[in-house]
Structure formats: C-alpha cells, structure tokens
C-alpha cells in the first residue's frame, strides 16, 4: 500500500482567505479541550511517539473534511485500536469490555506541570560529523518517501543553502515507523521564492524548511 499524507498543504491553491481570530479564543466546543487533553495524556503513556501520532493524523482518509481536533480524536481512536489498547466495541459502547493492557506510564494530575515544563527534547549526541556547513548549496530529494517524512512536497528537488546547523535530532522518518530514533543532523535550508514557485512569485521572498541530512545532497 502506498503511503499518502493528506497534510502536505504548502503552496496548494484554492483554499481561500485566512480568517483571523482573537487571542483568547482557544476552543470552540468543550470536546475540543477534552480532545487535546486526552491526546496529550495518552501520548504520555509511551504507547506511541510524536512521529507515529503525526503519521496517524496525516494519513486519515477524511483529513481534509475534518476539523483540527476531530482529526486528533479520529487518530487517537485509530492508534488505540491498532495497538489493541481499546477495542472497537468499547469505543462504541463507551465503557470497558475487555481487561486493560499495560502501559509504560500514566500521567498523574500532580505530575502534569513538571512533565510539560520538561517537554521532550529531540536533540541527540551526533554519531558522525555534519556533512554540510553554513553557506553550502544543497539539493533536496526529488522523490516522495513511501512513509512518514517531514520534507514538504513543495521543497522536493529544489536547490537551497544551509543557513543554520541544529545538531543531530531524532529522525522522524524512522521514528514514525518504529525503526528507532536514528538521529540525523538537522539544518535550516533556505530557498529563494523563485526556486520554489517560479518567476511570477513576488520579489524578496525566501522560504526555509528544517531538513534532516538524509533529505539533502550536495549540489555539485
């Protein structure tokens, strides 16, 4: 089965205008706040990692139709069912019908502030020296990966310049597939707007992505 992300939206046309929103407006229904909290709490159990969560969300066939927190709930249910943590019948019944599985951790109320303040840094000790340095010209991969990846479609096969070196970070492509962290050097790569969109784009535009080393090759 081919991998298809429905979340890769950069540069796509036909979406209309952006609708601003006042600062205090966080949730538009009570269930949205619950959806956020449930997703964070289940993420804290260690049953899956951040990249598996993103992969579950971006591959939902209904992605484009669903609101943001509806995507979260749909993906949460899918991950729970896929891992046999919850049965489909239990989701329908709204109560436990089978004994629970063991999870690595349960996030307790008293531990929430410390857990949030600590976060989950993704920088790791680098196993190899960085292949690129600030100022180097690079070309991004031309082909789409057949799995979760963080190289946006609009930035594939484009020539850019290394602007920042961020150290080695957990590699989402392997992490999302359960193949381990396999840390890779991470760079900010900047592209001229015309390289991405052609000559009719407004002058003075540049766009950067953060790209892991396996996404890049030397321009030469």
């Amino acid at each position: 089965m081919t991998y298809r992300s429905h979340a890769d939206l950069g540069g796509k046309s036909g979406y209309g205008r952006v609708v601003p929103e006042p600062e205090g407006e966080l949730f538009h229904a009570a269930w949205e706040a619950q959806a956020l909290a449930l997703t964070l709490a289940m993420g804290a159990t260690g049953a899956w990692n951040l990249d598996m969560g993103r992969s579950a969300r971006e591959t939902l066939p209904d992605y484009a139709r669903l609101s943001y927190y509806a995507i979260w709930i749909e993906a949460l249910e899918k991950m729970l069912i896929d891992r046999d943590l919850v049965g489909k019948d239990e989701v329908t019944a709204g109560r436990m019908l089978h004994p629970p599985r063991t999870v690595a951790r349960v996030l307790r109320a008293a531990d929430v502030p410390a857990a949030l303040a600590k976060g989950a840094p993704t920088q790791r000790v680098a196993a190899t020296p960085a292949r690129f340095a600030v100022g180097d010209e690079v070309r991004t991969l031309r082909t789409a990966a057949p799995h979760h990846t963080r190289l946006p479609g609009y930035a594939r096969g484009k020539i850019g310049r290394i602007e920042r070196v961020h150290g080695a970070h957990v590699f989402p492509d392997t992490h999302a597939q359960g193949l381990g962290e396999q840390p890779q050097w991470l760079y900010t790569v900047v592209f001229d707007g015309r390289e991405l969109w052609g000559d009719d784009v407004a002058r003075g535009l540049s766009v950067s992505i953060d790209a892991w080393e396996p996404y890049l090759e030397s321009r030469a």
């Binding site: 956020l36 436990m96 629970p100 307790r108 929430v112 857990a115 949030l116 303040a117």
Partner: protein
C-alpha cells in the same frame, strides 16, 4: 439555513458524546488520570499563552544584553524567564528589521511554540494559512490588514522539525519611556507569528 444550523448542532453533540465515551473507556482502563486532563486544560487556558512571549519580546526591546542572548540562544534566554518545555524544547528567535519581515508557519501540521504562545489559533492550523503562507505571504498579511513596503524582504519559516520559532517584532515608534509591562501589552500574538504588528502606544487600550 435553519436546517443547516440544526445539522451542525447535532454533529457537535455527536462529537461531544464520542469524546466523552472515549474518555470513559480510557479512564476505566486506567490509562489516564481524569484529574490530569483538567490540569492540562487549565494550564493552556490560564497559565501558558501569548502573554509569555510578549514578556520575552518586551525584555528584548529594553535590554540589549537579553536581546543578544535571545538571538544567539533563544532556548536558554527564554528559559531564564521561566518558559520551558513541551513544544518549545528547541527555540529560535527571529528579529524583524526595517528590511526584513519574518513569518512562521507549519505547512505539514501545526507546530507552534507552546511555552511562549500557548496553543495555536484556528487559522494557524487551517488549510488556507498552511497552503498560502509559503507562496503568498503578502496575500496572507493582507487578510490580517497588514501591508508592508514593497522593499521589505519576507522570510517564511516552515517549522518542519522540532525547532520552534518566535518572531521578535520591531518596537513601535513612540514607545520610549514605557515600562517593560506596558511594552509587553503592545505585543500581540499575531506579531510574534509574523502575521501582525505590535500595537502602537496610542492604541494600546
């Protein structure tokens, strides 16, 4: 119209029930502590939001040493004000200048610097912003009622990894003599994403 509204209403009710059902199952299974959910929600409703980022920006405006630190090592400088953790583990601050305006987006999902800005607004997570910001940032700015000089370069930062970006907007003219707290009140959330500008002192109310 009445029918549409009714339909929408019943869908919301359905979603409400669905989430409640899922929460019951997870809590009966012992995977979650229901009290932790309340703490999580309260944290992002009352403790962690864009006023944090506004304090960072105001400090950078009045303290050149802090500004330099923020631009060199944003994670450490921001942590010194007490803002750390989830979705802000690796911070970079982007300073707007007369010749360059920065705008932040996440075209692939909704990556956003939570410790300094809280949860992202709906438009930040929406298809129109994610689609257009990297291609037509001036058009996006127009949707926010902002028009920058043609000579200003625009740099869009697509947050594709775990690095999180905070825009440091330009300090508005006429803000001399204001206290740090008064300056922070001028800093809007949108100005720290790059889709807005700070309020001017006359308009801070």
């Amino acid at each position: 119209m009445a029918h549409d509204h009714e339909h929408e209403h019943s869908e919301l009710g359905e979603q409400e029930l669905r989430v409640r059902a899922l929460q019951s199952v997870l809590s009966q299974k012992g995977y979650i502590d229901p009290a932790a959910l309340d703490v999580l929600i309260d944290t992002y409703q009352t403790k962690i939001g864009p006023r944090n980022g506004a304090r960072v920006v105001a400090r950078a405006w009045i303290d050149p040493t802090f500004r330099k630190w923020l631009l060199e090592d944003a994670t450490a400088a921001i942590a010194s004000l007490g803002y750390t953790g989830r979705q802000g583990e690796h911070m970079v601050a982007l300073e707007n200048t007369e010749s360059r305006h920065n705008m932040v987006v996440c075209t692939l999902c909704s990556c956003y610097p939570w410790p300094v800005l809280g949860l992202p607004p709906t438009w930040y997570k929406s298809a129109p912003y994610r689609a257009r910001a990297v291609r037509d940032p001036r058009g996006v700015l127009a949707d926010f009622g902002i028009r920058l000089p043609e000579s200003t370069e625009i740099r869009v930062w697509d947050s594709t990894a775990e690095v999180r970006y905070l825009v440091v907007p330009r300090r508005p003219a006429g803000a001399e003599g204001l206290s740090e707290e008064e300056l922070a009140a001028l800093v809007t959330r949108d100005s720290m994403i790059g889709t807005g500008l700070p309020k001017t002192p006359e308009r801070r109310a």
